[in-house]
Symmetry: C2
Subunit: 161 residues, 2 copies
Amino acid sequence: MNDESDASPLTGDDLATWAALATVLEWLPPALDAGLARDVDLTHFEYGILYALATSPERTLRMSVLAGYANSSLSRLSRAATRLEGRGWISRTRDPADGRSTLALLTAQGLEVFERATPLHERNVRALVLDPLTSAQKQQLRAISERIQRAIRENGGWAPR
Amino acid sequence: MNDESDASPLTGDDLATWAALATVLEWLPPALDAGLARDVDLTHFEYGILYALATSPERTLRMSVLAGYANSSLSRLSRAATRLEGRGWISRTRDPADGRSTLALLTAQGLEVFERATPLHERNVRALVLDPLTSAQKQQLRAISERIQRAIRENGGWAPR
DNA sequence: CCTCTTTAGTTGCTCAGTCAAGTTAATTCA
DNA sequence: TGAATTAACTTGACTGAGCAACTAAAGAGG
């Protein structure tokens, strides 16, 4: 697995680190989705939307604010909202105070789904991420993740529109 | 291995760790793709295919083996191969030794693209992941990633088909 | 006021990925 | 040997996401 020394090839420990992370980036999201998708019919992304609404005053948020909380583009959120609305889990109304804005509201039914989904989701996160790690590793992972986030922001900073 | 009780909501340090990782899971892949997509017309996943082929004897691999290297389902790989073949970067032929198998070969043109893409990709990986971290953190990240991989495998093990 | 621009969201088009069904080639074993 | 099974892909139908174009409502400037 080690090889030539051109301009700057990734080798040795760096390569191993990157390969290990790359596999996690590929596997973890679908693994997390799998549980939720099987038990409730919900992706991790959709769960995040319900979570943001459920923990908001009035269970209501403007779409653009919700997009921020969900790390999402407005377009992606809009489509997800259409799906969730179709299932009766959220509803959208025009903001009376500013006709351009749309207010998303978690319905009673949506809240129920959220409450059913939450323990499943947390069990997943624990089983796949938190429980296998030592306390020290969890601290490390947090610091590392925050550092990488910063690097992303600084390097042409990718952010959803 | 753990402090917080198993049935209760994520809180405190655990929540912070999870939130930090979740954001990385959401942001890092598109951030990595952005550079490659802009400069060469290649996703990170497609780059992985070229990489696997370029570093193989004869620059050739059976599709199913390649799928393993690329962490991919055969179906996903097959579609990606169709795209890459359309651009003349790989070619597929039936394996003479076993007519069920397909051999994917990196073409000269494909190799050229790979060699152009490699420094860009590595610059990305370094800028976003490796350079911001200390040596100790890189070691930690590797160990953590490997541990999470194992947890995924053990928990109903998600693996691409 | 009446344009001109900006803000907030939605939607048409296209593409990548999943699942399941289909195809062709090897294997098994009765 | 020949029918049934398994293996290795490929493909059709469908879904989710991105980009860019579009609509509607504020706000700004003259």
